[in-house]
Assembly symmetry: C2
Homo-oligomer: 674 residues x 2
């Protein structure tokens, strides 16, 4: 049972409201409406339920808190401050300012105690699903009778905006399917959005919808004042062990303001008179800003002190666990250090040109079969394309609810459903949990576009996640233009902190996994073919790890053919045709442009020297290639539906055409100028 | 009441099943499982309900049919053939072949009778919502007592995959909110997906979810055989005038196959023995392929003949309508011709440098206020950012359900909710309806990524839709990196058939709208600033309509500064600094690169001649700029949270830095080589 509420709780809540108010007033920017409405539920959650240790925000079994309505971050920063995280009153004063640790929306890695980056609506609640999955999985793998090593809760505050986003719908459906009992979301139901009353755009019955997903639904009628009701609901939610819970908390946006309950209080700083009357109404000194009354400070300090015990208790438990289960404890410790099992990379297969031509998606499957048993932290699945993506390794067991009969929480394979965006956001959440978890998700490359909202956050939040995207070009064939990526390579390559890898053969696929699994702060998109490609003379893991390299060369090449993925072997064939005409050439493979760029100018100039014409060849948009090549063969329209060979022919992606264009470039190059 | 079902209906359904089977067998590719399961509902729909005219697939008041599970297109092509659309048996034989009109997934514009492009899951049902919105709107605007000019239904077949996609959730929620009574979706509930039984990933209660959205729910227990139940459900659905209807139709995937009811029958061609036993079981000649028995042919011919009457009746009605309501009829006729009101473009405002600096989003609002009354076909709104996107023109009335009390179906302003993807897909549907409708949608530019699945289809399907995306750079300021687009320009520009327009000032904003509203087969993304920009000497609508032009020039420029949007004025300021040092320069504005590229090499070389160093300046990724510039100033990391001015400074996007880099480039250019 939770500690009873007293007057100091009310004062604390009003203090939080006014801190948020002072932050947005000082910044002349930001949102105070939702913080003022959400302060009661956040206060109840942090003071009565959250098991965390503010002096070590990385303690692995901490309860996770996600603020899905990230624009409400003045609330989160205020709480982090009161709780004793590394957020000072000065940091609150610096809200949204240059180089502050209190940016406009919560950013993972920027602020102590912030678990995930939110603000782009719908992402936080979806991350929360991933966090809860991670806990369920680790608990199933490592907990032993009497040793609940991983048993934390994931709490989330979520607003109307988040719940309208499709990504949240996808993730919520997954959460219900997986029966994630330790996931508890508090829905800040204030009936207001930026465009006004929700009646203009959002009249669905959210609770019934979540019930349909398999969630437990609870309601709090007066979320502005009824702290007992909030706390009782959370207690009730914790008792529901086989369903996630959505607590509908009816609140008043901008609670206390003269404009409360209207869209006007959402995101515009309030007038001075309004701020004054709010503070007076709340019994706080209207002449003071960033004011934390002593009793409130003392109260929160008490919470902080109590919280430190949780980790101590856990450490003691883990010590006993280590004695009883040394192998498991050792593995957990290794994973917590972020190290992969020693020597795992020796499992990566290598190939010679004598090996049979194979689709890179199939070569990817071979890698997964080779490494997955050695890498328990590598978990993932497909968005309903398992048989096409070839992502299910031989020994894989499904992650499913324990009573499902078709897997359990210790399983590592996910059937994400046709939910690319939800999958990506859930992956970000799994990655955010820590304990070395590296999630992967798979689909057709073309449909990574559905997920780009979350893929962007993979990069921004530095999540080590791996997107295994197959059917990476017109090589898709008959499925046609709706399924053939064209602009996708360019779109992904333009995104900061994302490695886009398009391996050409078996060795490059192995390199791609080596790169993905060792890039701790950069997500990776693997672009893999549907169709077979030969293993190439000159390819190696070591070479491919540079992002670009000379695959084949001849003395004094007259032209450089630079390709990626399935077009590298096309370049090799074209080079043979040129050789028949006594035209020496070089073939360069560029599996990962960002990695190649990172090698520095000296290496890059060695591979792609000035003064020799360079022709790039890639079955995708030529957009972006001018940086590397003088001319580009590619596809700047949408694709067509036909057998793949026909389509490559249609777009001139055949050796004869490449050779022809190479000769043309050789002849015109001398006349070309900057 | 529908015509009773007889034996010929069963034979017709089995014929359709076998046509689909023959198509996938001959192509050795494609999906027969869903067509075999959906054949009964499709047959019932097309023979008993669809009011359409196969000899004129463009008749404006036709009932719309959308196959949301587009991989099921063998079904659609078979029906279009039987119904008498321009799809021959040879076209069916050519399924998925080079240059055929029967591609791997349905493509609008490719096949007579196909309304929208589907295959990317979730899009079709969302397009259907748009089609139903369009009908509701046009009916409210133009129908008169006794003259139901626009009263068609929108029917949609949708599968499990579509209903898992977030975009479908978003659109379905909108449909419920808007009470679209003429939207009827048949849910092919076969419990199977590619990854197997839906129990592995999709255990939510779909019907309850849709009920929560405000839909009417009906069920058909035996969708394989019970034609009366299907027809009764559709009749029932038509009676529900203030809710869209979802008819849950329980079917068997691959109905008739030895593998029926399993994932194996989804997308792999069946064995010959299986095909033979299917045809025998169905009473069809197993030695024949692409066989339409005479009685089935005769039956469908009867339907075709009857269908031609619908348009005749409508034409007669419209003639009377034209006599009674000549102004309305004239407007409809104009719109059907795809012409805008004469002289509308004269309403576009123009500016001189004396006019006050203004944010381009605000200038966009001025344009909307100027033109919207003259352009009844231009309809749209915002994804819950009306006050930020500034998209609500003065006279705008909300599109809302007629009984909502806050608007009605004749309204043209949409509160799409925080549903960017659903918004875009609904826009595609509105555009697909025809009658000149040009939908627009608005949001923060960064969140167009949420919608990219549908934005891609805007381009592929050649929908004239307009994305009004504001807050187009780090100029967003305090909201921080989660809200600041970086890779977005590049990602959009790489997409075929998409005009990405980033206007620099008032004249360029007017040009952007002129371009968007006259590009009949190309969608447009307008990228607009949050922050103020000055009106530039040298800008004009005419110039901007070329996509790029010399804004300011000096004799023998030593450098060309090429910018877009808010960075053009930055280039102008830098040019002033250079002038102070006696360095003559040229400033080029490039509001739309695709349009600039389309001007041909002569014009392009005049604007950006060889031999003069070119420095591009854009507050976004430099990816893609090497095609136009020798060096680029941009941002290749994520942004930061701070007041906007600080951020521009941080990234060197200030006149002094641009001038400095210009001088550096001037000095190094002579040594640069290709
Ligand atoms: Ca709200
Ligand atoms: Ca299905």
């Amino acid at each position: 049972m939770f500690d009873p509420f007293t007057e100091v709780d009310k004062r604390a809540i009003n203090t939080i409201r006014c801190l948020a108010l002072d932050m947005t007033s000082k910044a002349s920017s930001g949102h105070q409406g939702a913080p003022m409405g959400c302060a009661p539920m956040a206060h109840v959650l942090f003071t009565r339920f959250m098991k965390c240790n503010p002096s070590n925000s990385q303690w692995i079994n901490r309860d996770r808190f996600v603020l899905s309505n990230g624009h409400c971050c003045a609330l989160q920063y205020s709480l982090l401050h009161l709780m004793g995280y590394k957020v000072t009153l000065d940091d609150l004063r610096d809200f949204r300012q240059y180089l502050s640790i209190t940016p406009g929306h919560p950013e993972r890695g920027m602020t102590d105690g912030v678990e995930v980056t939110t603000g782009p609506l719908g992402q936080g609640i979806s991350n929360a699903v991933g966090l809860a999955i991670a806990q369920a999985h680790l608990g199933a793998v490592y907990n032993r009778p009497g040793f609940e090593i991983f048993n934390n809760y994931t709490y989330c505050i979520v607003g109307d905006g988040c719940l309208q986003e499709g990504v949240a719908s996808e993730a919520a459906s997954m959460a219900g399917h997986y029966k994630l009992g330790k996931l508890i979301a508090l829905y800040d139901a204030n009936n207001i959005q930026i465009d006004g009353d929700i009646k203009v755009q959002f009249t669905e019955d959210v609770c019934t919808r979540f019930k349909a997903y398999g969630w437990n639904i609870l309601k709090v009628e007066d979320g502005d004042n009824d702290l007992d009701a909030i706390a009782n609901a959370i207690e009730e939610a914790k008792k529901q062990t086989d369903k996630p819970t959505l607590i509908y908390v009816h609140t008043t946006i901008g609670c206390g303001s003269l404009l409360q309950g209207t869209a006007k209080v959402h995101g515009c700083p309030l007038k001075v008179e309004d701020v004054t009357q709010i503070k007076e109404k709340f019994g706080l000194d209207p002449t003071k800003q960033f004011n934390v009354p002593d009793d409130v400070r003392a109260f929160y300090n008490g919470i902080t002190t109590k919280d430190a015990e949780y980790e101590k208790e856990w450490n003691a438990l883990f010590e006993k666990y280590a004695a009883a289960y040394p192998a498991e404890a050792k593995e957990i410790t290794r994973r917590l250090r972020g190290e992969l099992a020693e020597g795992w990379e020796k499992l990566l297969p290598t190939y010679t040109p004598a090996d049979k031509p194979t689709a890179t998606r199939k070569l990817s499957e071979t890698v997964l079969n080779a490494i997955c048993d050695a890498l328990p932290e590598f978990i993932g699945g497909s968005a309903d394309l398992t048989g096409s993506n070839l992502t299910k390794w031989k020994s894989a067991k499904d992650f499913q609810a324990n009573d499902s009969g078709i897997g359990d929480y210790s399983g590592r394979y996910f059937h994400y459903g046709v939910r690319e965006h939800g999958m990506a956001a859930v992956m970000n959440g799994i990655s955010a949990y820590g304990c070395g978890l590296i999630p992967f998700g798979a689909g057709f490359l073309n449909f990574i576009g559905y997920a780009s909202g979350a893929v962007r956050l993979s990069s921004l939040s530095k999540h080590q996640v791996v997107y295994i995207m197959t059917h990476d070009s017109i090589g898709v064939g008959e499925d046609g233009p709706t399924h053939q990526p064209i602009e996708t390579f360019a779109a992904l390559r333009a995104q900061p902190n994302l490695n886009v890898v398009r391996p050409a053969d078996g060795n490059e696929v192995s390199a791609a996994y080596l790169q993905a699994l060792t890039s701790k702060t950069t997500p990776t998109v693997l672009c893999l073919t549907r169709q077979n490609v030969p293993h190439l003379q000159g390819s190696s893991i070591e070479n491919a790890m540079k992002g670009g390299y000379v695959l084949q060369d001849e003395p004094n090449p007259k032209i450089i053919l630079a390709g990626t993925g399935s077009e590298v072997s096309l370049c090799v064939e074209a080079a043979k045709l040129l050789k028949q005409e006594n035209i020496p050439s070089r073939v360069v493979s560029l599996p990962c442009l960002s990695l190649f760029d990172a090698q520095g100018p000296e290496y890059r100039n060695k591979v792609l020297p000035k003064g020799i014409p360079i022709l790039s060849v890639e079955a995708g948009s030529t957009f972006g290639w001018a940086k590397y090549a003088h001319r580009s063969i590619g596809i700047d329209t949408f694709g067509i539906s036909a057998p793949a060979g026909k389509i490559f022919e249609h777009f001139g992606l055949v050796p004869t055409e490449v050779a022809k264009k190479a000769k043309l470039l050789i002849s015109e190059f001398p006349k070309m100028t900057l």
